[in-house]
């Protein structure tokens, strides 16, 4: 016969077993959550590391992606020049200019691009899903339109590119870049009237880029259709019409829409302003100080091999740079003052012109 103690012991044992089981289940759950979170944080950190490597080395890379993430978004810090990855692992700010189209399904292609102005270089990293394809539909089939397509395509070195005419898409798969270049070259023989608006149903993350007039071409019906108008330098998507300046602006728009284009303009201006202030300080520093010996290193050399003179006043065999650096500093000043005006690009061209003069004068 079972004693009271035996009954008590069995009951207590059952109670404690249930308690221990619950505790273990809770711990296992917490541990799993912690591990999953840790893995996700590691993935985001690894992505940041890959971005930095691509930015500093210039070599394109592939990132295995954010599979397993429930959410992954990328937006831009309204004030600063940084993008933010918002995911299950929290918010991660990227210090570098990165244009990023997140995708949870596909691996990502990363590529560094730069605009070189001689006195200053602006670089950024394009990050797009490997599964993204770009379909060009040159409704306006001019030489400029074709050049524009080729220039845009240079921003997407690892992306598959196609030309779409009506419902036909060329080149057919399997695809190579040479096929695309061949198709592009042959477009030159085709009049615009023979190219129809692309009706092929293109699903995201792929993008259809129509080269035509933002007013006359049919309006974009879906998020992944954009119209680029080289004549008016405008881009249209389902949300509205925006201005662009060059192909890198269009590439930024293709990657992340208007917010990406805004970010590109903002970060470009900030970087330009910073570089201009450094170069201005440097020009003021060097103005009047810089002396280059006007003595050829090899007296027997022909004059064209003489070291270049840093133009300006000649005094006792010493060439001084008075004036040129000051002109450069003034042009930089004028550029910074007109950063948000219509004369902005003219000012930038003027600065580039003075810098070219500085270089040809042997001052740089």
């Amino acid at each position: 016969m079972t004693s009271t103690f035996e009954v008590f012991r069995i009951l207590l044992s059952i109670l404690i077993m249930v308690f221990i089981l619950l505790v273990f289940l809770r711990i296992a759950d917490m541990y799993m959550t912690l591990q999953t979170m840790k893995n996700k944080i590691q993935t985001v950190n690894a992505f940041e590391e890959t971005v930095r490597q691509v930015y500093t080395t210039g070599y394109p890379a592939t990132f295995q992606g954010f599979t397993g993430f429930e959410t992954i978004e990328y937006d831009y810090d309204g004030m600063g020049n940084s993008g933010r990855i918002k995911s299950d692992a929290g918010v991660k700010t990227l210090d570098l200019p990165v244009f990023f189209r997140p995708d949870r399904e596909s691996s990502l292609a990363l590529e560094k691009k730069c605009e070189d102005f001689g006195w200053w270089r602006f670089c950024w990293v394009n990050t797009v899903p490997k599964s993204m394809r770009i379909f060009f539909n040159p409704v306006t089939n001019t030489r400029e339109a074709r050049a524009l397509i080729l220039n845009i395509s240079e921003n997407f070195g690892q992306t598959e590119l196609f030309v779409c005419n009506s419902t036909a898409v060329a080149p057919d798969l399997p695809y190579s870049r040479d096929d695309f270049s061949y198709i592009m070259a042959n477009l030159g023989y085709l009049p615009s009237s023979e190219i129809d608006v692309c009706d092929a149903y293109i699903t995201e993350p792929s993008v259809l880029v129509i080269i035509g007039s933002v007013d006359s071409a049919p309006q974009p019906a879906r998020q992944n259709i954009i119209i680029v108008d080289p004549a008016s330098k405008k881009i249209r998507d389902i949300g509205g019409i925006y201005e662009y300046h060059d192909e890198s602006d269009i590439a930024a728009f293709i990657i992340g829409g208007n917010s990406s284009l805004d970010f590109k303009k903002r970060v470009f201006n900030q970087s330009l302003e910073a570089a201009a202030s450094v170069m201005k300080a440097r020009s003021v520093l060097l103005n009047g100080k810089m002396k280059i010996l006007n003595r050829p290193l090899c007296p027997e050399c022909p004059p064209q091999l003489y070291p270049k003179e840093c133009g300006g006043v000649s005094y006792n065999g010493i060439e001084r740079s008075d004036g040129l650096f000051l002109t450069f500093a003034n042009s930089l000043d004028s550029l910074v003052q007109n950063l948000n005006s219509d004369e902005y690009w003219d000012e930038l061209n003027a600065v580039n012109g003075v810098y070219t003069q500085l270089k040809s004068s042997g001052c740089e």
Partner: protein
């Protein structure tokens, strides 16, 4: 009495088992915590590596005539240093925040400048006359345009400097714009350890 001692024995056994379970749980979480700390240290190292690369590559600091980078332009260094916090902010916009950097000239053969062998070909430099002179002007900090070019130490983002920093140092080339020569220097970067 026997019943009571049996109950006590059983309770003590349960308490020990529970304590063991909690010890294991605490161990697992402490281990996790320390492994996250290790991760943080790795992040600091990675940031240092990145900053080194960024300095070496940055067109704002390097001389454009050396396409592969790694040749700092002393006039650009001075221009940024003379801008003070604004210069720091400018560098931080492309390199991130929370770091301090210092560039020093470490070797300069003063007497070699513009020396040629009178009797031989034009490229023969008389190395026996070279003196590594790091006294005086090359140990002075370049903080304003007035110091230039008689200075050889550049400091950036001094306001970020704190005691808990991890440093890395590497040799660099510094282009002396006024003399059109390249001298040896060191780049020291410190990153805040969180």
């Amino acid at each position: 009495m026997k019943l009571q001692s049996g109950l006590m024995e059983y309770l003590i056994f349960i308490v020990i088992v529970m304590a063991l379970i909690f010890a294991i749980v605490i161990f697992i979480f402490v281990w996790q915590f320390f492994s996250l700390g290790g991760e943080q240290a790795q992040l600091t190292d990675k940031k240092l590596d990145y900053l080194l690369d960024a300095f070496v590559e940055s067109p704002v600091i390097n001389n454009p005539n050396y396409q592969r980078g790694l040749v700092f332009d002393d006039s650009k260094l001075t221009a940024i240093a003379s801008l003070g916090p604004e210069g720091c902010q400018m560098l931080e916009s492309s390199m991130g925040s929370g770091w301090y950097a210092e560039v020093n000239i470490s070797m300069i053969f003063d007497q070699c400048e513009n020396i040629r062998d009178d009797g031989g070909s034009w490229w023969q430099v008389r190395y026996r006359d070279c003196v590594n002179d790091l006294s005086g002007k090359y140990t002075r900090a370049c903080t304003s345009a007035n110091d230039y070019p008689n200075c050889g130490v550049w400091k950036f983002c001094v306001q970020n400097r704190d005691e808990k920093m991890k440093y890395i140092t590497m040799p660099v080339n510094i282009y002396r714009k006024m003399n059109n020569t390249v001298v040896m220097g060191t780049l020291k970067i410190g990153v805040s350890v969180q």
